[in-house]
Subunit: 213 residues, 2 copies
DNA sequence: GTCTATACCTAGATAGAC
DNA sequence: GTCTATCTAGGTATAGAC
């Protein structure tokens, strides 16, 4: 079950034992290697033998670091989604200015995530059906629902103030925009014609023009 | 290889032997059942035993109808993409009116495909990585590239005539729009708040506003 | 913490009777 | 065209020596 809740109580914790974020070095290194393998080949297709080989050890040795292959995947995705949620959360108030400014930020965060966390976004995108059907990964749905609320809040506010068109349903518009961002993982090349900032700017132009009445 | 070119010539064809579209009934029925299984569970996860069971036969019996599991998948996707290409091809000239009208049609075709060919679109979306990495399915890339040229032609024409904004790169804009359409497979519910025609209309509104300068 | 060796399972596919 | 029975390959995971 790999339940890392601090059930035994934190009071009894001895001196130097960092309970979380142990960053054992090797463990973290293997996690990154595994992520690259899974992103490149797909979760089912990247075997534990592949991951072991890429890390310079045999598959059996992986199980000294992780309970199972699923554990590796879960750790990768949880870490990423935690950070993404924090980033989105910070922009949602939209207090500082217009809804347009807030939407621009949402788009920038999404596009940047594709660029900077390519491995995780790729894994999430390519294995979505598997992840949704697996009880172990239901946290993903919950976190994405949370992200959706941040988008909705911005679009609804823009619609309420008349900044955005009344014709457009906030949920449909959000999904249309987010879908376009997510599928970037399939074509975006950081060494191509456009940097990720430029792509974000184009997306923002397109959708802000599109939404404003 | 499944090469169905009419190499032997059509002249020597005997009377009642329909060479293509044999629609043997049972074969076609199994194909639809298999499609549903694969769309629901994922290609790797839908086993030949699952497919057989859903069809009321044992897995071994499937091989009287199809050479392999891959054959089933290939036939499903080829048929769908063939039809989709034809639909897109018909609209591309954009001769009849403005680029806006043409783009609206492209969007309608894409959205309608998600609705009417849900099984195939779902399979294509969920197993994209696998399909790209498998030499047997390279035809998919070729056909999608062809579809992309249709979109590009419309967006470039609109940009050339000044109908669409110069700031937007046609390829980036196409991908943003198409990505939003494709990911509909993950949320669109025909019995939900909006029909597929209404979703298409919203998408068209959003993106036509977004593109027009 | 890694290796050797292997258990155990499930997948796609096949042979031959009916 | 379906069933019975089974092969073979390759997957995750484990046990125990080093």
């Amino acid at each position: 079950m790999t339940d890392d809740s601090t059930s035994a109580g934190a009071a009894a914790q001895p001196q130097t034992q960092a309970p979380r974020r142990r960053r054992s070095g090797r463990r973290h290194e293997i996690l990154e290697i595994a992520g690259r393998q899974i992103a490149e080949k797909g979760y089912a297709e990247a075997t534990v033998r592949d991951i072991g080989e890429a890390a310079g050890i045999l598959s059996g040795s992986l199980y000294r670091h992780f309970d199972s292959k699923d554990t590796i995947l879960e750790e990768l995705l949880r870490t990423y989604l935690d950070d993404l949620l924090v980033a989105y959360e910070a922009v949602t108030p939209a207090s500082e200015g217009s809804a347009s400014a807030a939407l621009r930020k949402l788009i920038q965060i999404g596009v940047r995530a594709v660029h900077e966390n390519r491995v995780e976004v790729t894994i999430l995108h390519d294995n979505y059906k598997f992840l949704l059907r697996n009880p172990r990964f239901t946290f993903i749905q919950a976190m994405e629902r949370q992200i959706m609320t941040y988008w909705l809040r911005v679009l609804e506010e823009g619609r309420a103030t008349g900044e955005f068109s009344r014709e457009l349903n906030p949920r449909v518009a959000s999904l249309a925009i987010m879908g376009g961002i997510e599928t970037m993982v399939r074509w975006f090349d950081p060494r191509g014609q456009f940097s990720h900032e430029e792509v974000a700017e184009q997306y923002a132009t397109l959708h802000l023009n599109g939404l404003t009445a």
